[in-house]
C-alpha cells in the first residue's frame, strides 16, 4: 500500500486498526488521521478536540467531533464503547495522563498511543552538549511556547505499562519516515503502541 501525502506516523497507525471498527480519537486536531481511517478502514469515527477552529475543520471533512477537553471528556463514555481509543501526539498535552490512559483503556477495547520520544539522541545531545531544552523535528517547540505539559521517553512509557499492568500488543518506532529497530529509545523520534488491559 502506498499513500501520497500521508504522514508516516498516520500510515503506521492505519496498520494497527481493523476495518469496520469503532474509533475514538482524543485530540483529533483538524481530523486528518480520523479521515484517513474512515477512508481506508471504513471505521465509525468520533473525535474529541479542544480547539474551536479545529472543530470547524473536522466538520468540513464530514467528521463527528465533540468540542471539549480530554481530561473531562472521556469519563462520560461507557465501558468498551469503542474498539480503539487513539491518542496521537496528545498524551503529552493533557493535564492528567495517568487517569486519561486508565479511562482510555476502560472506554476502548484497545488503545493506540503515539508520542514523541524525549530520549531521542538529538534531544540528548542538545541537553548534554548545549545545555538547552531540546527542539527537534518531533518536538519542534521552544520551552515558552510548547503545548506539551509532559515529556516522556519510550522507556518511560514501557516502564509505565509494566507498572500499571498494561499489555503492549504491538510497538512501532519511527524516525524521519523510517522504521527503527535498533535501540529505539535512542534512535526513534516517535513511539507508537497498541495496548490493552490484557485478559
Amino acid at each position: 500500500m502506498t499513500y501520497v501525502n500521508v504522514r508516516f506516523d498516520h500510515k503506521a497507525i492505519l496498520k494497527l486498526v481493523k476495518p469496520q471498527s469503532a474509533v475514538l480519537e482524543l485530540g483529533c486536531g483538524t481530523g486528518d488521521l480520523l479521515s484517513l481511517l474512515i477512508k481506508e478502514r471504513s471505521v465509525r469515527g468520533q473525535g474529541l478536540e479542544i480547539d474551536e477552529q479545529a472543530i470547524y475543520a473536522c466538520v468540513a471533512k464530514g467528521l463527528n467531533v465533540i468540542h471539549g477537553d480530554i481530561d473531562s471528556g472521556l469519563a462520560e463514555y461507557e465501558d468498551k464503547s469503542f474498539d480503539y481509543v487513539i491518542l496521537n501526539q496528545s498524551l503529552q498535552q493533557i493535564k492528567h495522563p495517568d487517569s486519561v490512559l486508565t479511562d482510555a483503556l476502560r472506554v476502548g477495547r484497545k488503545v493506540i498511543i503515539s508520542f514523541s520520544n524525549f530520549a531521542y539522541y538529538k534531544s540528548r545531545l542538545q541537553i548534554f552538549f548545549r545545555g538547552r531544552t531540546p527542539v527537534t523535528g518531533a518536538l519542534p517547540y521552544q520551552w515558552y511556547e510548547t503545548p506539551n505539559l509532559h515529556f516522556l521517553s519510550i522507556t518511560d512509557f514501557i516502564n509505565y505499562c509494566g507498572l500499571k499492568k498494561i499489555r503492549i500488543e504491538r510497538r512501532m518506532y519511527i524516525s524521519e519516515d523510517k522504521r527503527i529497530k535498533l535501540l529505539p529509545n535512542l534512535f526513534a523520534q516517535t513511539g507508537i503502541f497498541l495496548a490493552d488491559r490484557g485478559l
Binding site: Q53, I55, Y56, G62, I66
Partner: protein, 381 residues
C-alpha cells in the same frame, strides 16, 4: 474562519406566502382534544422525487412560520432569512425547507386567541395547557400530510431546540438527524424564574382580566415588561456594553423617569413593538410549555437515544447565560453514553442567547457541512 456568505436580500427565496394545514382533531398529552386545529407553515425550495431532502425548522418562543424570504404583505424578511436560501446554510437549491409555527401560538396557528368552535368565542384560558411534545405532534401531522417519511433534520434554537429534542426522543425513526441549538434538556430554576416574572407582569396588568381581553384594551404594559425581561436575558453584559454602554438618549423630555439611557429606550421600544405582534395569553401558554418540557420525562436521555442511527449536531454559545453551554453538554453527555454519532461546538460568541440568530457564519459552516454529510449518507443508505 472563512465561510461563503451570501447575504444579499435579492439572493434569498423571494416573496413567500404562509400556508395553513388543518388537523381535524389533535389529542394532547393530557388526553384533552382540540378540534379543527390550524397550523401555519411555510416552505422553501422543492421536495425531491424520493422525498429525502426535507428539513424542518423549529422556531423559538416568539418566532413564527415566516423563517425566510419576504412576507406577502409587509415584505418583512423571515426570522432566519440569512440561514435559508440558495447557497445559504439551508440551501434551497438542495433542500426542501419547512418552517412550522406552533399550536398555542398567535401567528396563524390555533392558540388562546383563536375562536373556540364549541363556544364561538375566543378560547382565552379555556385553551388547554399544551406541551412542547404536543407542538411537535402537530408538526408531525403536517410532515405526514406532506408525505415525508423521514426528515433530513429537525433543527432549531432555544425553544426550537427543545422541539428538535422532542422529535429526537419521540420520533427518532422520522428524522435522520437533529440539530438542537442553544437549548436544554429541561429548564433549570433560573429559566423558570425568568419566565414566571414575565407571566406575573402580564397577569398583573389590569387589562389582562383573567385572559378575557379580546375585543377590549390589551394587557400591553404587562406583555411589554415581560418582553423587556426576555430581551435582557437574550443579551450578555458584553453585548449590552458594546451596544449601549452608558450612552444617553438624545432629546429626552424633562420629565422624571423617562428613558434616559439608550438601553432603556431599546427595551421600551422592543417591549412596545412586541405588543403589536404577539398575544399575551400565547406568551403565558408557550413559556409554561417550555418550563414544563423535560426530554427525560419518561427515561434517561441516553436510554432514549440508545441504538439510534440518528446523528446529532449540538451547538452552544459561550456568552449564553440563559441557556448556558453546560446545558448543551448535558445533551452531548447523553449522546456519548448512548453511542450515537455526535458533533458539538461551543461557538466563541459575545452575543449571549441571541447568538443563535446572529452568529450566521459559524452556524452556516457547521450546519451546511453537517447536512451535506447527513444527506449523502441518506442518499447512499
Amino acid at each position: 474562519m472563512k465561510t461563503k456568505r451570501i447575504d444579499k436580500r435579492e439572493d434569498g427565496v423571494g416573496v413567500v406566502e404562509t400556508q395553513y394545514f388543518i388537523i381535524d382533531s389533535l389529542t394532547l398529552e393530557n388526553r384533552e382534544k382540540i378540534e379543527h386545529v390550524t397550523l401555519a407553515y411555510e416552505t422553501y425550495g422543492d421536495l425531491n422525487e424520493n422525498k429525502t431532502n426535507a428539513v424542518l425548522i423549529l422556531h423559538a418562543l416568539s418566532g413564527d412560520a415566516h423563517a425566510a424570504g419576504l412576507d406577502i404583505e409587509q415584505k418583512n424578511p423571515g426570522w432566519w432569512d440569512s440561514m435559508i436560501g440558495p447557497g445559504r446554510a439551508f440551501d434551497t437549491n438542495k433542500y426542501f425547507v419547512i418552517c412550522s409555527n406552533v399550536i398555542g401560538g398567535c401567528k396563524g396557528s390555533t392558540g388562546p386567541s383563536s375562536i373556540n368552535p364549541a363556544t364561538g368565542r375566543h378560547y382565552a384560558l379555556d385553551f388547554p395547557i399544551v406541551t412542547i411534545n404536543d407542538m411537535a405532534d402537530a408538526q408531525k401531522r403536517l410532515i405526514d400530510h406532506l408525505g415525508i417519511d423521514k426528515l433530513l433534520t429537525a433543527v432549531g434554537g432555544s425553544m426550537g431546540g427543545m422541539l428538535a429534542l422532542s422529535w429526537l426522543v419521540r420520533y427518532p425513526d422520522r428524522i435522520r438527524s437533529a440539530i438542537p441549538i442553544a437549548t436544554a434538556i429541561k429548564h433549570g430554576p433560573q429559566q423558570i424564574a425568568f419566565d414566571e416574572v414575565g407571566r406575573q407582569a402580564i397577569m398583573a396588568d389590569p387589562h389582562w382580566n383573567s385572559g378575557n381581553y379580546y375585543g377590549g384594551p390589551l394587557p400591553a404594559k404587562g406583555l411589554a415588561v415581560a418582553r423587556m425581561i426576555g430581551h435582557i436575558t437574550y443579551m450578555s453584559d458584553m453585548s449590552m456594553e458594546v451596544k449601549f454602554g452608558r450612552q444617553r438618549k438624545n432629546g429626552t423630555q424633562p420629565f422624571k423617569f423617562t428613558a434616559d439611557y439608550e438601553v432603556e429606550g431599546y427595551l421600551r421600544y422592543r417591549g412596545d413593538s412586541f405588543v403589536k405582534r404577539f398575544d399575551a395569553n400565547s406568551y403565558l401558554y408557550i413559556t409554561k410549555a417550555m418550563d414544563n418540557f423535560d426530554a427525560t420525562q419518561w427515561r434517561p436521555l441516553q436510554d432514549s437515544l440508545q441504538g439510534l442511527k440518528t446523528k446529532v449536531l449540538v451547538i452552544a454559545f459561550k456568552s449564553d447565560w440563559l441557556y448556558p453551554a453546560y446545558q448543551s453538554k448535558e445533551i452531548v453527555k447523553a449522546c456519548k453514553r448512548s453511542g450515537i454519532e455526535t458533533t458539538y461546538c461551543e461557538v466563541d460568541s459575545t452575543y449571549g442567547h441571541d447568538a443563535f440568530l446572529l452568529e450566521i457564519d459559524e452556524e452556516t459552516h457547521l450546519i451546511s457541512h453537517f447536512l451535506k454529510t447527513v444527506f449523502h449518507e441518506y442518499e447512499t443508505a
